[in-house]
Amino acid sequence: MISWVAFRRLGLVLFAVLLLARLGPNTAAWAADALPSVQLNADSISPRPIEELTGKNIARDYAYAWQTLAQALDQDRSELLDGYFTGFAKETLSRAVADQKKSGIRVHYIDHGHKVSALFYSPSGDAMQLRDTAQLEVQVLDGDKMVHQEQVALNYLVLMTPAADRWVVRLLETVPGF
């Protein structure tokens, strides 16, 4: 016969099991987002020519920037922006993350790639301006309800500046056209 003490202990054990269940794996966190494709064309850059390695780094870091932007918006985590955004771009996007946390309206990007042209590379190598035509699927959700969805080609004017080991986005502005 099981005494009431044993039942109480059993309850404790069940509590611990539930606690463990709460600690369960975050499958969302395990999901890996793919890196968007970025094609960089630096034929018309001025006044300074772009170094081969810099060109590769710009394309790589711009792709990472979009990846972290999508993750930050999906997960409501503005700290994800720290890696590849700075200055006005980081302020703007952090405000967006804070706003969507507050309002429950979120924007989800499905990124189909970027065609990027380098416009301006400062003579001292400390700023680069880019023009990006991004193929995006934009979804606007209110909670779980989708209120808007579109496939769109958007034009971005981008300003990137060098940081410790990478180029970071300092300005990311959508423009009507180039």
Partner: protein
């Protein structure tokens, strides 16, 4: 008709009283959180537990060695700390788990000793286990949580093993196997050596007892032993599967790291004191009795032989036997744990000694034994302060943690120098990652495995090997994003200055300085083939803790056959007068 002796000195001490004494002795010391300031390893265990508290199902920990798998160390003790930490905080959770270990130890000793000696002698053995110098040493100086929590579970499993061998009871088999799995989930090394040093004499005892009853069946005992062993082995293989995978994938092939417990204690007085005198204490006085009585009584001989083996192993490099028997493993193991195993194996015979002394001179013996026990415990505690081997686990690392957690400093990796065992304390509370760490077996970075030195933070204590290892790591600072170095020992300043680091901040009135190298890029994830698969993380997060819950359920729901272990043959040689007889 036998007359029952009602004298206080001739009655067994009730187990509840012994548990209460264990609580009275150890609880205050643990509530004071003594191990966090005096032990070598407490901070290490807390660090592991902290990771489970945050990432229960992900054993890949990037905070040390630029990433290592916690599946290289059985998790159960740490997981219990992690669970309790949600209520009590990490430090107190550690103390609670440690308290469970030291309170269960006399219970385990009592049940184990009952296999060999009378209830009364077993109760003395259990009481003495509370004051064992080696327990005090391992709990309050070494901080070997896993050994000291695993050993009682193993001791608790042994009577069930005996019961299964003798009478073939299924419930004993189930309980014995589950307790073995729990013990293994807490500490693998204790299980490995426990299997040989504890299970083998119990097997021999069961075989002898079975033969003594003249019911034959020696083969049955062996057969049951094989069943128990097979079930335990399969169970351990499954429950600790991620551990086996990691150990097979990355066997420990690093250059051996020197450890004082492998020394010859006769050639270094301090080591002899630390690893022999202090752990054994007054038990040394009982050694002649242990050997003579153990040799005199046939039933005790298995116990004596395995006690002697554990004792010789506990002497580390003082004798050539461990080196010969263990081969390369000799350079990986530390040997202080064997003093605990030896002491636990000796306790049943020491219980007999106390029993006889009390029978001969009750008051004098009780005073003498009490003084010896308390003196042994006091010596072990006192040695922490007089010992030349000091720990700095209690060091205040708040300023270091605060620096790392602000202004994006955690984008880079860091190391500490001269922090000793305060390193895990930094790692527990910072969000930054390090290339250093305190768990040697999990290291895979070549800068650490190729030199025969342990933690970078203590590099100078490993002499040329240590400094070579540190130089190798600093040379690859850019590769690992190793930007910040916290120095608590000015010995390291010249190397950092010549190697291109600059002092940028000073904390705690100059006790800690921060050095930085400006051209180091932010840390990137270091790819490793040692990252456990997600399913391994799930197994690791479910099975070991599940075993402990199952053990609790079995204990609650399936009662023991209480009388099964009550009949114990005499462990007194024929010519020694018997002062008390067994109760039937």
């Amino acid at each position: 008709m036998d007359q029952r002796d009602t004298s206080f000195f001739r009655r067994p001490i009730p187990p509840a009283a012994i548990v209460l004494i264990a609580l009275v002795v150890h609880a205050p010391l643990l509530i004071m959180q003594l191990p966090t300031t005096t032990t070598y390893d407490a901070n290490f265990h807390i660090f592991f537990a902290s990771h489970y508290a945050h990432h229960w199902f992900n054993p890949w920990n990037e905070q040390w060695f630029a990433g290592f798998s916690q599946t290289t160390y059985p998790p159960l003790g740490h997981q219990w700390i992690a669970i309790l930490s949600f209520i009590f905080g990490l430090n107190m959770a550690y103390m609670l788990v440690q308290l469970i270990g030291v309170v269960l130890l006399p219970v385990g000793v009592f049940r184990f000793a009952r296999l060999w000696v009378s209830e009364r002698a077993a109760s003395y053995a259990a009481l003495l286990s509370v004051f064992l110098g080696t327990v005090a040493f391992l709990v309050y100086s070494a901080g070997q949580l896993s050994t000291t929590v695993s050993a009682p579970f193993y001791l608790l499993a042994l009577p069930y093993f005996y019961e299964w061998l003798r009478w073939g009871r299924g419930r004993a088999l189930a309980k014995g196997v589950v307790l073995t799995l729990v013990a293994a989930s807490i500490h693998h090394v204790t299980l490995l050596f426990g299997a040989i040093l504890f299970a083998a004499p119990v097997l021999m005892l069961a075989w002898m007892d079975r033969r003594a009853e003249r019911d034959g069946g020696g083969l049955a005992v062996l057969g049951r032993a094989a069943v128990f062993t097979a079930l335990s082995a399969i169970g351990v293989a499954i429950v600790l599967l991620p551990y086996w995978i990691s150990i097979l994938q990355h066997p420990i092939e690093q250059v051996p790291i020197p450890h004082a417990s492998r020394s010859n204690f006769l050639l270094n007085v301090d080591y002899g004191m630390n690893y022999f005198i202090v752990p054994y204490g007054a038990l040394i006085l009982a050694l002649p009795f242990i050997v003579i009585r153990g040799a005199s009584v046939p039933r005790l001989r298995p116990l004596l032989i395995f006690f002697w083996i554990a004792f010789i192993f506990g002497l580390g490099g003082t004798t050539p036997l461990p080196r010969l028997l263990l081969g390369r493993a000799f350079q990986i193991l530390t040997f202080e744990r064997f003093t605990l195993l030896a002491a636990l194996l000796a306790l049943p015979i020491v219980g007999l000694l106390v029993e006889e002394l009390l029978d001969r001179a009750p008051k004098l013996a009780s005073i003498g034994v009490s003084i010896a026990a308390i003196a042994t415990f006091a010596l072990a505690l006192g040695w922490m302060y007089f010992s030349p081997f000091k720990t700095i686990g209690g060091m205040n690392v708040d300023s270091v943690v605060s620096f790392l957690n602000r202004d994006g400093h955690d984008k880079y990796r860091y190391i500490t120098l001269g922090f000793g065992n305060a390193l895990p304390k930094v790692s527990t509370y910072t969000t930054a990652n390090s290339v250093d760490g305190e768990y040697n077996s999990a290291r895979l970075l070549p800068e650490m495995t190729q030199y025969g030195a342990a933690q970078l933070t203590s590099a100078k204590f490993f002499g040329r090997a240590g400094m070579e290892s540190l130089r190798a790591m600093l040379k690859h600072a850019n590769r690992y994003g190793l930007k910040y170095i916290f120095v608590h020992d000015a010995y390291y300043d010249p190397l950092l200055a010549f190697a291109g680091w600059r002092k940028i901040e000073t904390f705690d009135n100059g006790l800690v300085t921060v050095w930085s190298k400006e051209d180091v890029p932010p840390a990137r994830k270091i790819e490793s083939d040692a990252i456990p698969a997600p399913w391994e993380g799930l197994l690791w997060g479910i099975l070991p803790i599940g075993c402990s819950f199952f053990a609790i359920l079995l204990w609650l729901l399936v009662p023991d056959r209480v009388r099964s272990l009550e009949i114990v043959p005499s462990s007194t040689p024929a010519e020694v007068p018997t002062y008390a007889r067994e109760a039937h």
